[in-house]
């Protein structure tokens, strides 16, 4: 995923679209827009930064996980298997981005959604108390798109919910390994390419341009 931070207006649509898509536990927000103040009055401003899991190539959470619940798929998406997770929270300590969330048992806040027991296609909305959960790049959408011949990152049903909703079109999703993909072309055009916490050297798949 590529995020053009300069375009973000801080509206939190991504934050909420992710919440309703994934029914994340109570106060877990997988894709929040982070805000912080900079400067001194009158030359002060508020910076916005859309965030989510970085799906690192060398993911410290996977390395730290004692139960094998955290795994990196072949396509690079890092997944947490909540049924396998033993709740050690070692991954949370290891993640430099605070992208992993522990489910303390409180219910999701979004009313009106299906019960977790409803159809199989909502498996991603079923969260296990005492386990960790995280952003999956909406892997269920990517998989649905791949299975149904929809272009990933282009067709809205084959694109992460945060990307689909964004009114400022900050986010683009595609294949970073393909030099001709939408994401690669955007990086080439609008670069330089940046990542969060480069010092952590984790090889994030979430790339940025225009960081504040």
């Amino acid at each position: 995923m590529v995020i053009d931070a300069e375009r973000c207006v801080g509206c939190q649509a991504c934050t909420v679209a992710c919440k309703t898509e994934n029914q994340s536990p109570y106060d877990a927000w997988y894709a929040p827009v982070v805000e912080w103040e900079a400067g001194e009055y009158p030359d002060a401003t508020l910076n916005y930064l859309p965030t989510l899991c970085n799906h690192c190539e060398d993911a410290p959470c996977v390395t730290a996980c004692p139960s094998g619940a955290l795994k990196r798929r072949d396509d690079g998406i890092v997944m947490a298997d909540e049924d396998v997770c033993i709740g050690s929270r070692a991954c949370m300590a290891a993640c430099p981005y605070g992208a992993i969330h522990f489910h303390d048992g409180r219910a999701a806040v979004s009313g009106g959604g299906p019960e977790p027991s409803v159809p199989e296609r909502y498996a991603h909305q079923r969260h296990v108390a005492g386990a960790v959960s995280k952003c999956t790049y909406c892997a269920h959408r990517i998989d649905y798109g791949t299975e149904n011949g929809l272009e990933v990152g282009v067709h809205p049903l084959a694109t992460p919910a945060c990307v689909v909703t964004c009114p400022a079109e900050c986010r683009i999703f595609g294949d970073l390994d393909d030099p001709d993909s939408n994401v690669s072309r955007y990086l080439a055009d609008k670069g330089p390419e940046q990542v969060l916490r480069p010092d952590a050297k984790t090889g994030p798949s979430t790339r940025y341009v225009g960081l504040p």
Partner: protein, 864 residues
């Protein structure tokens, strides 16, 4: 039942998705709602086929399905059993049948209509937007003077709508999202997801962000200011001084103005005598202009180079073009004087004026669809920030000068009118503005009754209702005077008080004035009906409650029928039920899909159905076979079917609406940028104010009441508001701002959005500048109490931040409240307002929302 549900296929997303419209805020985006097998909705996305929001949604829209399965929903009609009404008093609700409820209301309607139909207070905010001609027909058919747009009318576009109609024949103006390159946000949040046309604007601006210079002039670094290139902090309520200082710089120092535009498309060349009135042709209405060769000529005599400057003698009197009068008028607004009022440095005043003037590229053109048009890519936008002030109308008349002086009205890059003049004219739309005998744009405000425009001023009459709208010839609404008359009944001789109120989708107890003030007003109304989905604060004051629907259960054919500004395509669409409500409706055997079913049934039971049908034929411009027989009886579905076919054609009735329902069309260049294509003129000199003032003074003298008329001026000034220049301890201004993840007050009960707000603590906090906080011994996170000069109080958590002017206490959203689901620990800014003559603009009906206040620490961080 299937027949009234929207089709769940045929959308860009395929099976399971229903195309509808979000009605959480006035943007009314096109959406697709995903419906599960068990008739729950679990996802809302933007409709990719809809050119209004191009497949996008905001945080509010994403969370919109919340509340569908709310266990606290009102599901049956209720009657109050406890005769005592008030905040915190249990109404003792008892269920009644629809028949009992409707008959009781119809009896009251008949009784009130026989006495005086103007004593029906019909309050709603969104019904006239969403239900258009049908709602208006109901109001007209019952003989009411109109609807009252409580509570928004106290804070909404008091100085926006009339001015937009005056200079743009439009409901409001917004910057051109595609071609504007320099945008002054005066206390508004254009470009953030908080404003009209917001999805179009946000996407267009983000696409060309590096080419657009955004400047936010605001006491707080709002969401839009944070995303802007520059935040210019300003003392609240002083924007008019800055604007007039910029006008002085533009016309007197820099000589930057669009002379050709001013001559041909405004009244700038109209000659004005020393009495302030136009110098007119002898015996006729036409104002004169000065022609170098032929002397004074009627404005429309074809004079090529009418003078904008100079002093002349005409018919024995001294006369100056309106532009010269304006230039002379603003000379006193020197940058240094402006700095002393606004705290904006004099150098910044000069720079902003120069930047704005240069960015307007006067003289340049651009080709759009093969037509060469003026290109004026500098503009300004304002809303409540400039409107909610004691001298609201003067603020509005000041700011409209900026785009007008540079020729930036309804041309590429300029301020674009939201063309509500096109409403309902899907097939045979023609964009034109009617000219007054003075040659000025004179199309009135769409509305009527208790809602109106600015020019020409309406006839002044003795007040017929407690809103006293008849004494406000230039205001869009008079709502706030209801509260003033309630508080001080002797002030204006106690004009007629409502006998009954029907309250629909508005919550005045929480959203207008201080709760105890509104409570006193509401308690005096003998009979109250509330149509509501939940037990809102105002619903709890009702005698009869009728259940309302969630927007995803509604059938409303014309939710969006005004047309996106500027480039892009027209779109007209409505809402349809994504899920069927299990709530029984007012008509036995008929699925409940919209509150209009209640209104039609009430009309029938009160004997006014023929009048409603006739009014509908007129207002909706129904033709031939689609017209309603006054003596006929039609279901809501049948009326929708006829209305749709009358609008779109015989093949696009209710079936089409349910299975598709999105109408789009290309725009002509005239529709995108209408200004060069019609003759009626905009104004920079507001001569009509003199007549309005004279009429008003004569009437109030006759009535023997005191009425403020000082602000009926031909040119705007900055004047101090009631909180300006106060001494300690109330030397701060408490103000309020919008947040992008909330709209109005109703989203504050949305569990997803309120959890998000809690995370940011945005609704429970007050922003205080570090210097101010230090001076009062306040640290970040402390519990503080805001105390106004009038003694009103709210507690909050201190957010000590660099993002706020040192004289300002900034609160956010429309929180607080006391019913189930409301968060009492949120700041209720409206509870700090003052309902008195000092805080009300008698011209526009605005209520000053910059309140003199102190802030004190009452507890350390983390304490209750």
């Amino acid at each position: 039942m299937e027949a009234v549900l929207g089709a769940r296929s045929g959308t860009a997303y395929g099976e399971g998705w229903v195309r509808s419209a979000c009605t959480i805020c006035m943007n009314r985006c096109g959406i697709l709602a995903h419906v599960n097998e068990d008739e729950t909705v679990d996802k809302i996305v933007g409709d990719p086929d809809n050119p209004h929001n191009h497949g996008r949604t905001c945080a509010k829209g994403d969370a919109g399905f919340e509340g569908l399965s709310d266990p606290d929903r009102i599901t049956v009609p209720l009657r109050r059993t406890n005769p005592e009404r008030g905040i915190g008093i249990d109404p003792g609700w008892a269920p009644i049948t629809w028949d009992e409820a409707l008959d009781a209301i119809a009896d009251k309607l008949r009784e009130t209509i026989a006495d005086d139909p103007e004593k029906i207070l019909y309050t709603s905010f969104d019904i006239f937007h969403l239900r258009g001609a049908l709602a208006a027909s109901w109001v007209t058919g019952l003989g009411m003077p109109g609807y009252s747009t409580w509570s928004a009318a106290i804070f909404c576009g008091n100085n926006v709508h009339g001015i937009a109609y005056m200079n743009q024949n439009a409901f409001e103006g917004t910057p051109d999202p595609v071609y504007s390159r320099y945008i002054l946000n005066f206390g508004a949040q254009f470009g953030s997801v908080v404003h009209y046309d917001t999805m179009h604007a946000t996407r267009s601006l983000s696409e060309r962000r590096s080419e657009v210079q955004m400047v936010s002039i605001d006491p707080v670094c709002s969401a839009a200011a944070a995303a802007a290139d520059e935040w210019v902090p300003i003392r609240p309520g002083t924007d008019a001084a800055l604007i007039l200082g910029m006008v002085d710089q533009l016309v007197n120092e820099l000589g930057i103005y669009d002379a050709e535009f001013l001559r041909n498309f405004t009244n700038a060349a109209y000659l004005v005598g020393d009495d302030g009135r136009y110098v007119r042709e002898p015996g006729g209405p036409r104002p004169l202009v000065w022609d170098e060769r032929n002397g004074a000529q009627p404005f429309d005599a074809g004079t090529a180079g009418a003078a904008l400057t100079g002093t002349y003698e005409v018919n024995g009197v001294r006369a100056r073009p309106g532009f010269q009068v304006l230039a002379d008028h603003v000379r006193s607004y020197t940058p240094e004087y402006v700095e002393s009022i606004t705290t904006v440095p004099a150098a910044t005043v000069r720079r902003l004026a120069r930047e704005f003037g240069e960015a307007a590229r006067i003289g340049e053109t651009i080709e759009i669809d093969g037509t060469e048009l003026p290109y004026r890519p500098a503009t300004a936008i304002w809303y409540r920030g400039l409107s909610a002030h004691k001298h609201s109308m003067l603020n509005g008349l000041a700011v409209i000068l900026l785009p007008t002086l540079v020729g930036g009205l309804d041309v590429p890059g300029g301020l674009l009118g939201d063309p509500w003049g096109l409403m309902g004219k899907v097939k045979d739309r023609t964009y034109t503005a009617t000219a007054s005998p003075e040659g000025l744009i004179s199309q009135g405000f769409i509305g009527g009754g208790r809602v109106g425009g600015l020019y020409p001023p309406r006839e002044v009459k003795a007040p017929r209702t407690t809103e006293m709208f008849e004494l406000m010839p230039c205001a869009p609404y008079g709502t706030v005077f209801s509260l003033l008359n309630s508080e001080q009944p002797d002030l204006f001789g106690a004009p007629p008080f409502p006998s009954m109120m029907i309250n629909f989708q508005s919550n005045m107890m929480k959203t207008s004035g201080p709760p105890e003030v509104v409570e006193r007003f509401v308690k005096r109304i003998p009979f109250i009906v509330s149509i509501s989905r939940r037990f809102e604060e105002t619903t709890m004051m009702a005698d009869i409650v009728l259940p309302d629907l969630h927007y995803l259960e509604r059938l409303t054919p014309f939710v969006f029928q005004h047309l996106t500004s500027g480039d892009g395509r027209h779109s007209v669409y409505g809402a349809k039920p994504a899920v069927a409500s299990s709530i029984e409706g007012p008509v036995p055997g008929e699925p409940y899909v919209d509150a209009m079913q209640i209104y039609l049934e009430l009309a029938r039971r009160s004997g006014r159905l023929p009048q409603v049908h006739e009014a509908f034929n007129n207002i909706a411009k129904m033709r031939g076979e689609y017209r309603l027989d006054p003596d006929g009886h039609y279901s809501y579905f049948e009326i929708c079917d006829r209305w749709l076919k009358n609008t779109f054609g015989a093949d696009k009735g209710l079936d089409w609406h349910l299975s598709d329902g999105l109408w789009t069309d290309d725009k002509t260049v005239e529709e995108k940028y209408p200004r060069p294509f019609f003759d009626a003129r905009a104004q920079i000199y507001f001569e009509f104010m003199l007549k309005a003032r004279a009429d008003l003074e004569a009437t109030v003298a006759e009535l023997g009441i005191e009425w403020e008329t000082d602000d009926y001026q031909t040119l705007p000034d900055w004047k101090p508001g009631p909180a300006y220049g106060r001494t300690a301890p109330h030397d701060l201004f408490v103000i309020n701002m919008k947040v992008p993840n909330h709209a109005l007050s109703h989203t504050h009960k949305n569990s997803i959005l309120s959890t998000l707000s809690n995370r940011h603590n945005d609704l429970k906090s007050v922003w205080i500048n570090p210097v101010t906080a230090a001076g009062r011994g306040i640290s970040n996170g402390d519990r503080v109490e805001i105390v106004t000069a009038q003694g009103r109080r709210q507690t909050a958590a201190a957010r000590v931040t660099q993002l706020v002017h040192p004289e300002v206490l900034a609160t956010q959203g429309c929180g607080g409240g006391w019913t189930k689901g409301s968060a009492g620990d949120e700041v209720n800014f409206n509870a700090l307002l003052n309902i008195d003559a000092d805080h009300i603009d008698f011209v526009s009906g605005a209520l000053d929302s910059a309140i003199a206040a102190d802030v004190r620490k009452v507890g350390a961080g983390g304490s209750a």
